[in-house]
Symmetry: C2
Subunit: 120 residues, 2 copies
Amino acid sequence: MSEKPEHRTEHRPPREERPPRDEQRPRGQIPPDTVFIGKKPLMAYATAVMMHFNSGSKKLTVKARGKSISHAVDVVEVVRRRFFQGKLNVKEVRIASETLGEEGDTRNVSTIEIMLERLD
Amino acid sequence: MSEKPEHRTEHRPPREERPPRDEQRPRGQIPPDTVFIGKKPLMAYATAVMMHFNSGSKKLTVKARGKSISHAVDVVEVVRRRFFQGKLNVKEVRIASETLGEEGDTRNVSTIEIMLERLD
């Protein structure tokens, strides 16, 4: 917040020297029909889900980990009630655990996968 | 936490004048084979789930609302992995919305129901 935008290029390496976004946050195991829910506001994700279905797709999986699990359920419920009025079906909900961290310093985090299906 | 137990009766109305707990937090629709997850530490709920199955029951539904949804998934995953080593099955997970509040001042809250089944 205290960083002034006009000085940004002096403090951060230029775009070419930074690793591409894909390498900063590995998305290797996330298939294309997936929205991963994090800490952004609900409407950011709700819009992403809407756009996905408006582009013609019939299926989408919403995934989240840890404290974002509640947020993911909120996103799905808001999209379902407010934007789709019953035409979006929750096909399946799966819960599981993932192991994070390096060897010797691992911890488990809960995960959720919500499979959505457009009905019309 | 700062409330001293010996003064409690001076600051709170005696038990007879307070509404019974059922009216403070309606549990009318919660059947007996249910654990409702709130803000207590994870192990409090994990113990409750363990005790339920150790008393001979084969089924249990874990329910939560709002931000406690993530906590509910954590409880289920910890019990499943640490205490049951695969002998506890997540039969079904349902997500939905509930409307809270009085007429004219309502809001929706997301809910989760996790149906568990003991396998042995």
